[in-house]
Point group: C2
Chain length 423, copies 2
């Protein structure tokens, strides 16, 4: 049924039906949450050996007692482990604390306070701008906004950033200092950057000598199905163009082991690692090496990280399938909802009828279903067409999710009917 | 034997004797380290249950699943635990990662980038100065130097800072924005601030409205002997004078459990906690809650933190006693070395004959004994009289320490003899 071809009378009837359903949901006093990309308790259980068993030896391979102070850049075997997992150079890795977000923030702050590549600190410039791919990750936008960095929205297309637009902007404006990218299974669209687009990011000419790509590969191995997407090696491509110093590469085990107590890393070119360490040495004596070892031992004892990620996928994929099947049933050819079918990551990004995202989220909230706030996927929380909503199906269990999606479908339709009747 | 009353001939003879002893040490190929305040392996063993046993329940008291994301300020019971340990208000605590140093750096950076108390960011000012108590902690000086903050040395006296001097400076110069304090068993002198001096820090009039005291209570419960020193409650005193917003209070379990994998906190007035969180929310979703619970469970299962600290003292006190007894034997009335007998903390601060600290440390190094670099206890690494050396007796085992102190004594005497023969 295409909503857009209904008469006002038909819409009114439909609205009455939907309101009846909606009321019944409201009466049920639901408490459902699809707002954040949180692993479910069953996913967390996969890593419980980390908590219930002893960690084994607390000596690193080189004899370092991991209990004591020291080792600013993290243990060698931890760097090697991440390097093997993601195809990186272990020498160019610094292991952080429990969150790559914190490493991203620190990298941004260092550019802001101290500058990079011998250029002025960004705080000393009259204006600093960043390219923000939309829809995108609210926490990236948040840290830019907190610093007063001007955010320029550029569309994230099906195969990655709108590179024509970006090349034009960064070539001509030296105040544009960087871009945040989630290159694989992007938050929230699930987009994977094509090899060609990664190449263009590596190759592009930037007016700013200290232009930075914050390569947040948060979902680097978080495939939902067997045939995972492949991401081009940005460092290798940068080497071709002599632009290695523009990349900060981030990753963490947050959605692999336990989000609260994982380990993270930043990778960069050798000169940039040196630059990071030159300031980081005043910030900390070193991050939690015990946890670095604990997580390494866990993967060795539990058949490796790839096998572990398959177990996550076995729990996650049915949830994504449920939501997507329901959308197909309820919204195919409806004209009021479009969505992307991701192959990994933690989100399903949908677009409602223009001007209906806020209303849909509000209706859901009133019925006991919390979604990510409408607008959150855009800089300054302002979605220009008020249509994008980020759905996070990972946390609820299947039966809860079923109800949650039903509620969402009714709210989305009701918001659309209201909108169409307004006109 | 007073070196200062020896004739040149006597000094020459003495020097020859000392050089002979020194040569024998050099031949032994020693590898001793008294450079950093690191707990010894035996001390670390006290907390091995943290590693070898399961952590128990991963649910917080309020039902929070500590494995997942969230709880920016840390778990309630962790805040309560620290509050109970140190006499603080649990509502005014934010739990951090594995290092209070990192929390100190972050607090400094926030003042630098965003400003505090509604005042301009420090980075926007033509000059920012800090008072540095000397001798002091090199890592505090390091982070100030990295930001280009001008360090003004003020003497740390036997009962705390030279308050007359400080009051005069902060009253008249609005570019003086803060001071780092290690108020109990100060690094390196072991000094404990008198109640009167804490009161004066709370009461003093500052030209800068956003003056900050970085109250690094690193050794807050690290007593060596039964009769521990007491520290006045700075927040309570500040309340009397309406100056609560000037204090950032730091603490960690680094030297209680394992330095690499402890937990830390910052405490401040309610408005300052709010100010911290307003920016911190862009930096992290929350620190390691599993570790917060793990450490809490450990203390409950191991008879509490006070009993645990006594076990540390039982290992540490004999080491301090050994060094101090040796100094008494070797240097009493020698005129070439003075020292302070600390009642807690991790260091013994000594003063050599003027101009002999660097030479002593260099001689030790050559004989295989690493000490903290001479000058490290002063801003910019410059000890104006080249006399202060920080001795860290915690790490070596007793027999190693015995040799290390012997080497130190010979080197110190040799440096003094050389100096006196020069004149």
């Amino acid at each position: 049924m295409n909503f857009l071809s209904l008469s006002k009378a038909e819409l009114s009837d439909l609205k009455a039906d939907l309101e009846e359903k909606y009321s019944s949901y409201k009466e049920n006093g639901l408490k459902l949450n699809m707002s954040r990309g949180k692993p479910s308790p069953k996913q967390l259980d996969l890593s419980n050996d980390l908590l219930t068993k002893g960690m084994g030896s607390y000596y690193a391979a080189d004899g370092t007692d991991a209990r004591n102070y020291g080792i600013l850049e993290g243990l060698s075997e931890t760097k090697q482990f991440f390097a093997d997992t993601l195809g990186l150079n272990p020498d160019n890795i610094i292991v952080g604390g429990n969150a790559s977000l914190n490493l991203e923030y620190d990298a941004l702050i260092r550019c802001w306070v101290f500058g990079s590549c011998g250029e002025k600190p960004w705080s000393a410039l009259p204006e600093v701008k960043f390219i923000c791919l939309t829809p995108g990750y609210d926490r990236h936008f948040g840290m830019l906004q907190d610093l007063g960095i001007k955010m320029i929205s550029v569309e994230l297309k099906e195969d990655g950033p709108d590179m024509d637009k970006i090349e034009e902007i960064v070539k001509n404006d030296s105040s544009v200092k960087g871009i945040f990218c989630v290159p694989l299974y992007s938050n929230p669209t699930g987009t994977c950057y094509s090899d060609e687009n990664v190449r263009r990011l590596a190759a592009m000419e930037t007016a700013a000598k200290d232009f930075k790509i914050f390569w947040d590969n948060a979902y680097g191995i978080h495939h939902l199905y067997d045939e995972g997407e492949k991401l081009a090696d940005i460092f290798k491509l940068c080497e071709e163009y002599g632009t290695e110093d523009r990349v900060y590469y981030f990753f963490s085990t947050s959605k692999i082991t336990h989000p609260g107590s994982g380990i993270s890393f930043v990778s960069a070119s050798a000169p940039m690692i040196k630059e990071i360490k030159a300031h980081m040495t005043y910030q900390t004596i070193g991050h939690d090496k015990i946890n670095q070892l604990r997580i390494l031992h866990f993967f060795e004892n539990n058949g490796g990280i790839t096998a572990h990620m398959k177990k996550h996928a076995e729990i996650l994929a049915p949830k994504f399938d449920l939501v997507l099947n329901k959308f197909n049933e309820e919204f195919k050819d409806s004209g009021i909802l479009s969505w992307i079918e991701p192959k990994g990551g933690y989100f399903i990004s949908v677009n409602t009828l223009e001007g209906c995202a806020k209303a849909t989220v509000a209706l859901c909230k009133e019925a006991g279903l919390t979604l990510t706030g409408a607008g959150a996927t855009y800089p300054y929380g302002k979605d220009p067409t008020d249509s994008n909503i980020r759905i996070a199906p990972s946390y609820p269990e299947i039966d809860e999710l079923e109800t949650a999606v039903e509620v969402f479908c009714v709210c989305c339709k009701l918001a659309a009917a209201n909108k169409l009747l307004e006109n």
